[in-house]
């Protein structure tokens, strides 16, 4: 059973890879100019997708079909665009900025997975990110070091999540209402404190930023060294921390007893309670974890990237992270893949607007449309944890 499952998945994954290849071969550095190439490779990817579909692996098959379709069409589109434009749009820099766009989303998405896997809906991710963004700046200015900034972000993000926890776990308020209020509270509070503490705006150069790791040694790798350096050579420490968090989230949730508890509380709290798991305890821990992680995502925006804070600077990223959680079916790996996909979309938006005249606003709708398609069940249904959104009453 498991063997068969794995092989089906491999077929689907190969389909995804071929779909990417269909596009990749037509752009620099390869720039193959033949309509047949994206068509043939794309069709092969489609074939693999259908093969996987036939064996019942709907999600991977769906991804393979989507990639085959988009990759093939993208490849055909690239045939009609001159090489210089392609070079300007698709640079190694785009991949690096994909990672930068994906990092805050991935932090928040991992947080969202913890909370929602334990059965607490968290639409307050946005507010928790915003809180993290503000207190990271505040801590970093106050102490002069970004380490304290990160700690403050985590502390206050966790506190805000604790409020969400108290209201949705103990007080049994509607979790969506509570999450909504968390967002408003964070918006008001950070805006208020920002205006009260920094009436003249954040002073230039006062913020201690998270260092970037200059990985110069990548250059010495033969062949692809230059490319690797361009992508990975100048990333913030937080990006690397994000990779770690994604791996940890997967390991904790699916390979440890703690993860089993979190998931059991989210699927069947009564059963978990009967075997002696503290439902409230696990849920509080999961919700606070989500706040801490989301706040790290916010901190990346402020002290990891731009080095300042502005009112409502998260501007909906928490909701994109939420979309990634759902799109990724409440699984860390898939959710991370979704944040990369969304991040790639954002990274492409600016060069596409500049070079090809495609509206950045239009490209920005892409994560939301994809998620809508995903929940509609077209790429394999996204089925949430069973007990999500339901307060648990002890007996």
């Amino acid at each position: 059973m498991t063997e068969r499952f794995a092989s089906t998945r491999t077929i689907g994954a190969a389909g995804v890879a071929l779909g990417v290849l269909a596009f990749w071969l037509t752009v620099p550095p390869f720039t193959i100019r033949a309509h047949a190439v994206p068509v043939v490779v794309g069709l092969a990817a489609l074939g693999l997708g259908f093969a996987a579909l036939a064996q019942g692996e709907r999600r991977v098959a769906g991804f393979a079909l989507a990639f085959a379709f988009v990759g093939g069409l993208g490849g055909l589109w690239a045939q009609g665009v001159d090489e210089q434009t392609l070079k300007d749009v698709l640079t190694a820099g785009v991949l690096a900025s994909t990672l930068r766009f994906a990092t805050p989303l991935a932090f928040a998405a991992m947080g969202g997975i913890f909370s929602e896997r334990s059965g607490v809906v968290n639409i307050g991710l946005e507010g928790m990110m915003l809180t993290g963004a503000f207190f990271a700046v505040w801590g970093s200015i106050w102490s002069g070091t970004w380490v304290v900034g990160l700690l403050m972000a985590m502390l206050f993000g966790g506190l805000l999540a604790l409020i969400h926890g108290i209201f949705s776990i103990h007080l049994r308020a509607d979790q969506i209402v509570s999450g909504f209020a968390v967002n408003l509270l964070a918006l008001g509070l950070t805006g208020y404190l920002f205006s009260a503490i920094y009436p003249g705006g954040i002073p230039n150069g006062e913020v201690s930023r998270v260092p970037t790791l200059g990985l110069g040694f990548l250059d010495s790798i033969p062949g692809i060294g230059g490319f690797l350096r361009d992508v990975f050579g100048g990333l913030s420490l937080l990006v690397w921390l994000m990779f770690l968090v994604v791996i940890l989230a997967y390991v904790v949730l699916f390979k440890t007893a703690i993860g089993l508890r979190i998931r059991s509380v989210g699927e069947h709290p009564r059963a978990a309670d009967t075997v002696g798991i503290s439902v409230y305890g696990v849920r509080y821990a999961a919700v606070v974890t989500s706040g801490v992680l989301a706040a790290l995502g916010g901190a990346f925006l402020s002290i990891g990237f731009v080095g300042t804070f502005s009112e409502n600077m998260t501007s909906g990223r928490g909701f994109i992270a939420l979309a990634a959680v759902i799109f990724g079916k409440w699984r860390p790996g898939w959710a991370f893949a979704a944040t990369l996909l969304f991040g790639f979309g954002f990274a492409l938006a600016i060069p596409l607007q500049r070079e090809a005249g495609i509206s950045a606003n239009l490209v920005s709708t892409f994560p939301y449309v994809l998620t809508l398609v995903a929940v509609a069940g077209l790429i394999g249904r996204s089925i949430p944890p069973v007990a999500i959104g339901r307060p648990y009453v002890k007996q």
Binding site: A181, Y192, S195, T365, Y368, V369, V375, P384
Partner: protein
């Protein structure tokens, strides 16, 4: 009130919270207590940051125009108050409608966070009619604009409704996604080079709607006065009440909201009612957008799409407990807060408007928290001893 045992407390089991609360002050207790509590905590924040909360609140109140009702406000003050009140009522209008959009769906057990998207689609629909249909007589032009808004909102709500009814996609998720699609899509339509951009090619904004599609202004001047949209909102509140309480559709929707399984077993079309609830909810939000554009905004700029009028609508519905009268007063409260804290109305020497508008956001959040958690209010009212969530066994004496 909070001291001493309640004489008429039931002896066995526990009265449902809602019963207990609606017995007191017609269900207004929790919203009122929540509001007072929120203002108290907000005042605390003001105090901590070194301002006097009383003078701040007083200044905010004077900016709302509500002091117009006091007979002792005369002369220049009265004129000012009238103009402030016009603005407050103008802001309250879409809040009432977007609140109905939340409340209506809520009664069928659905949480419609999509008022924002439905509002903007309605707004764009009415704007399109206002700018592209020339030469129609005024009542017809206005009617068509409003119809376009309603249809637009209905469409946007209906997408979420169809997804809920057919594949069971959770409406919170779909409406959030639809919000952002509407916001970015709207920005795309009116951006530089966008398909609906106005005749000035250097500005990312639409044309101004024709004069024949503008709503009548009945109090104050053409540009800052109060238009007839407020009456439409009140009519909508009445319609909301009538649809829910006097029609078969409303009965079905309430039954489904109360217990979908029971409704299904008694043969009610649960799925269809989910779809209709969200579509009709969308229609109300779309109407809000149409009234805003035909009433006083007249055009749109891409930067406008950030405003969160429908998010405030959610707060209004929650505070108003989904009741028409509650929504009316909650909308006035939040509209007043918004107007009273705007930089145009608040003297920066008394209290920074930048702080005040964030303060009002915070107060909104706190109100929602407290309204959403009856339990908390009850703890505060020292009613905890009556809170036995599991009815004790009949033989056991109930400690009072």
């Amino acid at each position: 009130m909070s001291e001493g045992p309640e004489p008429e407390a039931p002896k066995t089991g526990f009265p449902r919270l809602s019963v207990l609360l609606s017995d007191r002050a017609g269900g207004a207790l929790v919203p009122l207590a929540a509001t007072v509590l929120a203002f108290l905590i907000g005042g605390l924040v003001v105090l901590i940051t070194g301002h006097n909360p009383l003078t701040a609140y007083r200044a905010i109140f004077n900016g709302t125009g509500f002091n117009w009702v006091f007979p002792w406000v005369t002369g220049e003050d009265r004129r000012r108050a009238a103009s402030d009140l016009q603005e407050t009522l103008r802001i309250a209008t879409p809040l009432m409608l977007t609140a109905i959009a939340v409340a209506f769906a809520f009664r069928s057990g659905l949480f419609n966070i999509g008022g924002q998207g439905q509002y903007w689609i309605g707004f764009i629909g009415a704007l399109f009619v206002g700018t592209h249909l020339h030469g129609a007589p005024r009542p017809l032009h206005i009617l068509l604009g409003i119809a376009a808004g309603i249809v637009g909102g209905m469409l946007w709500g209906g997408i979420a409704g169809i997804l809920r009814a057919t594949v069971g996609a959770h409406e919170v998720i779909t409406t959030i996604m639809l919000n952002w699609i509407a916001i970015f899509g709207g920005q795309y339509l009116f951006e530089l080079g966008g398909p609906l951009q106005g005749s000035n090619a250097s500005l990312p904004r639409s044309d101004v709607i024709d004069g024949s599609s503008k709503l009548w202004v009945f109090w104050g001047t053409q540009f800052s006065g109060l238009h007839v949209g407020i009456f439409l909102a009140i009519v909508a509140l009445v319609a909301y009440f009538l649809i829910l309480n006097r029609t078969t559709l409303g009965f079905t929707i309430r039954a489904v909201g109360f217990n979908p399984e029971a409704a299904r077993y008694s043969g009610m079309p649960v799925r269809r009612s989910y779809f209709l609830a969200l579509a009709i909810a969308g229609a109300f939000a779309g109407l809000a957008g149409a009234i805003d554009v035909l009433g006083y905004k007249y055009s749109v700029d891409t930067s406008d799409f950030g405003s969160g009028v429908a998010f405030t609508g959610i707060a209004v519905a929650l505070l108003g407990r989904n009741k028409p009268v509650g929504i009316f007063f909650a909308a006035l409260l939040f509209a007043g807060l918004q107007v009273g804290t705007s930089s145009r109305h608040l003297d920066p020497d008394i209290f920074e408007p930048a702080l005040a508008s964030d303060l009002s956001t915070m107060i909104q959040a706190l109100v929602i928290f407290f309204v959403g958690a009856d339990l908390l209010i009850l703890y505060i009212w020292r009613l905890r001893r009556y809170l036995r969530l599991n009815p004790p066994k009949a033989e056991e004496p109930v400690p009072l």
